[in-house]
Symmetry: C2
Subunit: 413 residues, 2 copies
C-alpha cells in the first residue's frame, strides 16, 4: 500500500465530482463502490461526499492486486473456472433495488503480465459469465453509474517508469485532476459546459443518420457499418431510473453501436491496450462481414487470441466512438495504459457487447430486437484505440454520399 | 493505513495456522475472508497459504474504520435502519455451497466511541438482522470457520497508549504471535497438543452433567443453570460439513449453553468490553429467572442498555465459558479491548444467541427443540468477562451436591 501524498483539496473535489456529476446520487440512494485498496483515500472522501448528499448506505468492495495475482501463482490447475457468483448476484440484486454504482480504477496495468495467459483468460471468462447479470443492468443503463480513477503507485510507475514514486504519482495525479476538471474552481459547472459540447456533437451525428463510417489512417482502411436505428451518445446520459449521470469521468467521446455483420477492412491500433493485467501492443485486425478473421499483435498476441475466442460475439464490434486528436487527454501526450484514459484520447472501437442505450428507444428493446438491428452480444466489452493525428473519417449516407467527419484526427468542422 | 513492519516469518506461520489449524481448509473449498484493510499483509499471506492448500476461490471482503465512521458522522437521521442485505445473503449462499469463512479482527476497539450510541445501536441491529441467515450457518457450525487477529496500529495504540506506534504494534504482535502459538517452531503440532488438553477438560465436565454452575468472586454471586442436554466443547470442533476446525485462534475456553430461564444472582465484569466501537466498563448485572433485571456500567452504560434492548433474548444468556486465570493470555497481564483475546483470558458469559452445537445431538435439533431445552435465541451474541484471580466455581449436581470446579481463578484439580 502506498502512503504517497496527494493534494487533499483536489481529492475532495474529485470525490464531489464523482458523486454530483458522475453519479448525480440522489437522497436515499444506496451506493456500491468498487476500488483497488490503494485508492482508499479517495474511497473515504467519496463515501463522506455521498453521505453528505443524503446517500442511504455506502458499501465499498475493495480489491487487491497481490491477492488477485496469488491465485494465478498458487491455485491448482483446473480451479480457474470459478468466480464469486454470490457476490455478483448480490450486486445485481442491489442494482435492482436502485443502488448506484461507482467504479474507481487505477490497478497496475501489467499486474498479470507474467501469469499464464490461458489461466487468466479462463478466470476472466468465468468472471464475465458470473458478472453478466450485474453488468447487464449497467450496460442497459438501468441505474446511474460512473467510473473515476485514482493514481496508484503501481499505475503511475507504468506511465512514468523513469520517475521516483512520489514524482510519478504527482504527475499522474495532475493528469487525472486536469482531465476530470477538478483543477478548475467549479468543476461541476465545467462538466455541465463540457456535456453541452458533447451533446452538440452527438445531435449532429444523429441528424445525419449515417449508414457507415469509413476510417482511414496508417495501417487502417475500415468501413464500420452502423446498426439500424443506432443513436449517438456522449457525456451526460439519463439512466432508466430517471437519473442523469456521467458514466465516465473523464469522457471526451461520442459513441454508438456498429452493425455486428457490417464491418469490413483492415485496422491498426494507435495505442497499446491494457487488458486483464497484460499489455497488448500493435494490434492489427482484418474484419470481413463483421467478424475479425485475422488478429495480430507484437506483444500479448496470446491474450488477444484468447480474448476474441471468448464467445461468438467477442470477434465482432459492439461500440464505435469518436474522440478528436486535440482533446485534452490526447494533448497531454501521455500513454496511460488504462482504457478510461486512453479511450478518451483517441477514436476507438470495442469488441463484444453493445449498449442497448445506443438504439432509438433502446431501453424498450428486447435482446432479439437489438440483435435484429445489428447489435452485438458477448460476455466481453473491450475498447481499443484506433485514432491518431492522421485519422480521417467519412460518414457514408444510405445513398453512398460521403460527408467529412474527421480530418487529420479532428472534427472536420 | 499502516506501513509498520511485522515479522514476516511469524506472519507466514500465522497464515498457515489460520488455514491448517483454524480452518483446516480442504482442497477445492472456497474461502471468504473478512478483514480490516490494515490487515492486508496477513490477508495476502493467508490467501497464498489457502491456494497452496488447494483452495478453490478466495474472496476477501475488506472493511475500513474511517468509512464505517463516516456514516455516523454524515448520514441523515432515519437512514440507520439499512444494512447490506445483498452482501450478507450472498455470503449465506456461499456458505450453503460449503465456502469456509475466516474473520480477521483487529479494528480500533473505540472507533465509534464518539458517535451517537442510538444511531450505532440502530445500525448494529439492522446489520445483525440482515446478517442473521449467514451467522446462523456459522453459529450452527454448518461449515468450518475461524477467527484470527492482526495487530493494527489503532488497536495497538489502545492497548499500549504510552508507546510509539511501531513499539506498540511490536508488543501487540508479540502477544498475538505467542497466544496463537506461532512463536513455536511447529505451531500446527502445538495446536494439536493444546486441543487435546481442552478436550480432556470438556470431557470431564460432560461426564459430570452439572445442573448449574455457581460463580463467586468480588461483586459476583451468580448461579448459572445449564441447559438440558447441554454439551461442553473446547478447542477443535467438527463442523456439520465433516471438517474439524478451530473456530478461535487463540482459544483457551471450554464452553456450553446456559439455561435461558435459570440464571439468578449478581455478576460483576472483571474486564471492560469493547462493543461496536465503544468501551463498556465495570458492567454489573442482576439476573432473575434468566433475565437481566438490572444492568449498570461506569462507562458506556447507554451502549449496554441499547444492547440488551435489541430483542427478548438479548437480556438472557447464550453461553458460559471457563478459562483459568493462569492461562497464557491472562498471564500476559494485558487488557486487549478485543473479545477474541479478553474472553480467552477469563471466564465469561455471553448475552444472546446460543450455539446449537452445545447440545447433545445439537445439529439435528430444531429451533423449537433447542428452546425447549433452555437454549436462548437472539440477534446478538456478546461475550463479557466475569472471571479473575478470586473466582471460585462450584458445579451443582441435580441432587444439590457441590463439586469444586474452579478455586482462586483456576481449575480446582
Amino acid at each position: 500500500m502506498s502512503d504517497l501524498i496527494l493534494d487533499p483539496v483536489k481529492l475532495d473535489r474529485l470525490a464531489d465530482v464523482a458523486i454530483q456529476t458522475g453519479l448525480n446520487l440522489q437522497p436515499g440512494q444506496d451506493l456500491i463502490i468498487t476500488a483497488p485498496v490503494e485508492a482508499l483515500p479517495l474511497v473515504r472522501r467519496i463515501t463522506a461526499s455521498a453521505y453528505k448528499a443524503g446517500a442511504g448506505l455506502v458499501t465499498p468492495i475493495l480489491s487487491d492486486g497481490e491477492i488477485s495475482k496469488a491465485r494465478f501463482e498458487h491455485a491448482r490447475d483446473g480451479s480457474f473456472d470459478s468466480a464469486p457468483d454470490w457476490l455478483y448476484e448480490g450486486m445485481a440484486k442491489a442494482y435492482s433495488n436502485n443502488a448506484a454504482r461507482l467504479a474507481i480504477v487505477g490497478e497496475d496495468p501489467m499486474l498479470l503480465a507474467e501469469c499464464d495467459p490461458a489461466k487468466v483468460a479462463q478466470a476472466g471468462k468465468a468472471n464475465a459469465k458470473a458478472y453478466k447479470p450485474a453488468l447487464k443492468k449497467i450496460s442497459n443503463f438501468e441505474i446511474n453509474w460512473s467510473i473515476v480513477s485514482y493514481p496508484t503507485k503501481a499505475w503511475a510507475m507504468r506511465v512514468f517508469p523513469d520517475l521516483k514514486p512520489q514524482e510519478a504519482v504527482d504527475r499522474l495525479a495532475d493528469a487525472i485532476f486536469a482531465a476530470s476538471r477538478v483543477d478548475l474552481d467549479d468543476p461541476v459547472a465545467a462538466w455541465a459546459d463540457h456535456n453541452a459540447t458533447l451533446r452538440d456533437r452527438s445531435d449532429w451525428l444523429n441528424s445525419k443518420r449515417f449508414d457507415a463510417l469509413h476510417f482511414t489512417g496508417p495501417g487502417t482502411d475500415l468501413v464500420v457499418g452502423l446498426a439500424d436505428d443506432h443513436e449517438w451518445h456522449g457525456g451526460a446520459s439519463q439512466a432508466q431510473n430517471g437519473i442523469t449521470c456521467n458514466p465516465n469521468i473523464p469522457t471526451e467521446e461520442v459513441f454508438t453501436t456498429p452493425h455486428a455483420n457490417r464491418i469490413n477492412g483492415r485496422v491498426r491500433a494507435t495505442k497499446p491496450l491494457s487488458h486483464q493485467g497484460s499489455l497488448i501492443k500493435d494490434i492489427e485486425m482484418v474484419f470481413k462481414d463483421g467478424r475479425a478473421i485475422e488478429a495480430r499483435a507484437s506483444q500479448g498476441e496470446a491474450v488477444l487470441q484468447e480474448l476474441i475466442k471468448t464467445d461468438e460475439g467477442a470477434a465482432r464490434l459492439g461500440e464505435v466512438a469518436l474522440v478528436p486528436y486535440q482533446s485534452p487527454i490526447s494533448a497531454s501526450g501521455l500513454l496511460f495504459f488504462n482504457t478510461l484514459y486512453d479511450e478518451n484520447a483517441a477514436c476507438h472501437i470495442a469488441l463484444g457487447q453493445c449498449y442497448s442505450k445506443c438504439f432509438v428507444g433502446g431501453a424498450a428493446l428486447s435482446e432479439n430486437e437489438i440483435a435484429q438491428r445489428g447489435g452485438n452480444s458477448s460476455l466481453i466489452h473491450v475498447d481499443w484505440m484506433i485514432g491518431g493525428a492522421e485519422t480521417d473519417i467519412d460518414g457514408i449516407m444510405a445513398d453512398g454520399t460521403k460527408v467529412p467527419v474527421f480530418r487529420n484526427g479532428n472534427w472536420a468542422e
